[in-house]
Symmetry: C2
Subunit: 372 residues, 2 copies
């Protein structure tokens, strides 16, 4: 069995699952730290293991361009190259092809583009994209998709969705090394009928799992939640459901209540590099003057390396002194916060208390935010 | 007994010692990683412990200006503030007062200067300087000195040396918290008679240990070695002898052969941040194209976290991708290399084989450098 739902919350659509990959079983819901360029920014693999990360992300577009698949193949795959031996999900890089590359030309066969690094010309189609991920040795590969921006005219959203489907059809037929899973991606911007059409077609292609792409790309939270809420039930419950690029703790909890299983986001590491800490009492900007003499832990309820050993005043000092240890410690803390939040979610679902947990977490998290 | 020489090499002046501080006994020779601003750059205290660091440096000038002694006092000292519980030696910051501050005015009483951070005006004399280090909770405090630049006219070097002596006299009388050691600093630039006069006067003041300052400030290696070689015997053998700001592996080995006990240097961390690795086979610049597909460890003879788990090609990739993990891992490796070199030195001295060890280390280290 590739994916198994082991428990359903009695009062919401939240669920516990087990996702079987060739490198071990992942518990869902799961938060996957983002390691775009063969490293989760500022965090060593040892620190990721220590905080209980079960699976991380890589990005096919980035790794294909640098350091290149030749080197990673020679290194016997991405896992060995970056010294991460648990599962890796690789994003196809569809989003990056559209957001980073220059002079791109999109056709039904794929995308011809120039590298954002050195201007060299490349072509990646749905087949090439999966082959790259196969060389990387990814445990879960994402199909190439076209992610519409927000806002997006209906006609343009429809063209991108149709292309995503065309590419998915090709993707579904690509032969990969045994054991690699392939997930399809639902596009359709904020248009319900487009999402419905896309989901229906993808489900017919029988992927190992399904992602919702093109959410959390700039639209207001209500619209994110609405899209996630009506799209998730279009996907089969016996498959893992992944919301790409999501999100804030609020977004993730909301989506779990609708039945989402997998999440990834750059927020915890990016915020960590800019002195912003996630805590049980809301977000804190540790550059703020009120932390100058604050000798309490960043989050008194947190058990990460930072919170067990250092203070808010110390972290603030590190950022003001431009010391790299500041971003390092706060990236560890923030990713630990996300992983620990999901651990608490799992306990709550097991006890059929997810709704209560979500309410009490958000009350504390949002109340304190207003207070400060 | 505050310091004890436990073994003397039979064929050189190299020696093994035990330096007793209030936070434990340090074996000498010792390399002290530099943690100027309450952090060894890019390395967590846990990683420092793991690599066997026994004592680290702090800097009174920097910490006085930022985060300030008020906060560190409130935090119950520098050790707690930065979560480092083994000994700390604090540099007086004499060097920084002269190299970093703006609009400084030096008198026999001390230095009036403007902060390099915010332009605020401050005064630090020899007494204030030790009081700052006392508040920091330093285990070994350095007296305020005037470090002459290189090159330096004889008359100017003499003035700086005389002032260093005047300040040392005041320093010797300052009452500190029990258990803090105070080291005197020999100045005199490259002039043997000035060094002699300075050392003689300082020894009369009976400090807990003696440092040679104003070496490794830009002069050629031969001149460094000459100064160190004639100055060390002017200091009492029953006291620890510390060469400030030294140096390359070659410098350190040479100075140990003359009887030096303690070293600190920013080189391993600074080089680590710029992709330069110290290895048993010489220095490597990992940005070099020849490492693009090099899947061997940075130093095959090294047992640090980097060398056990990652390759030269991976580190090169991290630097080209501007990933913070590159500087992090290479800083760990380089400091580990220095600490491990000193561990090997201790073993060699114990066996009365220091000269042989030095020769074979340098042959391999320098030969490979030429080869590449």
């Amino acid at each position: 069995m590739s994916f198994k739902v082991v428990h359903k919350d009695k009062n919401s659509k939240a669920r516990l699952g087990l996702l079987n990959t060739k490198r071990g079983i992942i518990q869902t819901p799961v938060f996957m730290p983002v390691g775009t360029q063969a490293t989760v920014k500022a965090i060593s693999p040892a620190a990721l293991e220590e905080m209980g990360a079960e699976i991380i992300l890589g990005n096919a577009y980035h790794l294909y361009l640098r350091p290149g698949t030749d080197l990673i193949k020679k290194a016997d795959g991405l896992h060995k190259f970056m010294n991460w031996h648990a599962p890796i999900l690789t994003d196809s890089g569809g989003y990056q092809v559209f957001s980073l590359s220059i002079l791109r030309k999109v056709t039904d066969k794929g995308v011809k583009f120039q590298s954002h690094i050195d201007g060299s010309t490349h072509f990646i189609g749905p087949k090439e994209c999966l082959e790259i991920q196969d060389i990387l040795g990814s445990d879960i590969c994402m199909v190439l998709d076209e992610c519409a921006p927000y806002p997006c005219e209906y006609e343009n959203a429809k063209i991108a969705m149709k292309r995503t489907l065309d590419w998915a059809k090709i993707s579904a037929k690509v032969k990969l090394n045994s054991g690699n899973k392939v997930f399809g991606i639902v596009q359709g911007s904020t248009y319900q009928d487009l999402r419905q059409e896309c989901a229906k077609e993808l489900v017919n292609m029988d992927f190992d799992g399904y992602a919702i792409g093109g959410v959390s790309v700039g639209e207001p939270p209500e619209l994110i939640y609405k899209t996630v809420e009506y799209t998730l039930p279009l996907l089969p419950d016996c498959k893992p459901k992944y919301i790409m690029g999501m999100g804030t703790p609020e977004d993730i909890l909301e989506s779990i209540s609708f039945g989402a299983d997998m999440f990834d986001c750059i927020i915890p590491t990016r915020y960590g590099r800019t002195a912003n800490a996630f805590t049980s009492q809301g977000k804190l900007n540790l550059r703020n003057a009120r932390f100058t003499q604050d000798l309490t832990p960043v989050d008194p309820e947190c058990s990460c390396y930072l919170c067990k050993n250092f203070t808010r005043a110390y972290v603030r000092h590190l950022f003001y002194a431009n010391e790299m240890l500041g971003p390092q410690l706060l990236s560890i803390h923030n990713v630990h916060f996300y992983i620990n939040l999901i651990k608490q979610v799992r306990v709550a679902i097991t006890a059929n208390e997810f709704i209560e947990f979500k309410k009490s977490f958000l009350e504390k998290y949002k109340y304190s935010k207003k207070e400060k």
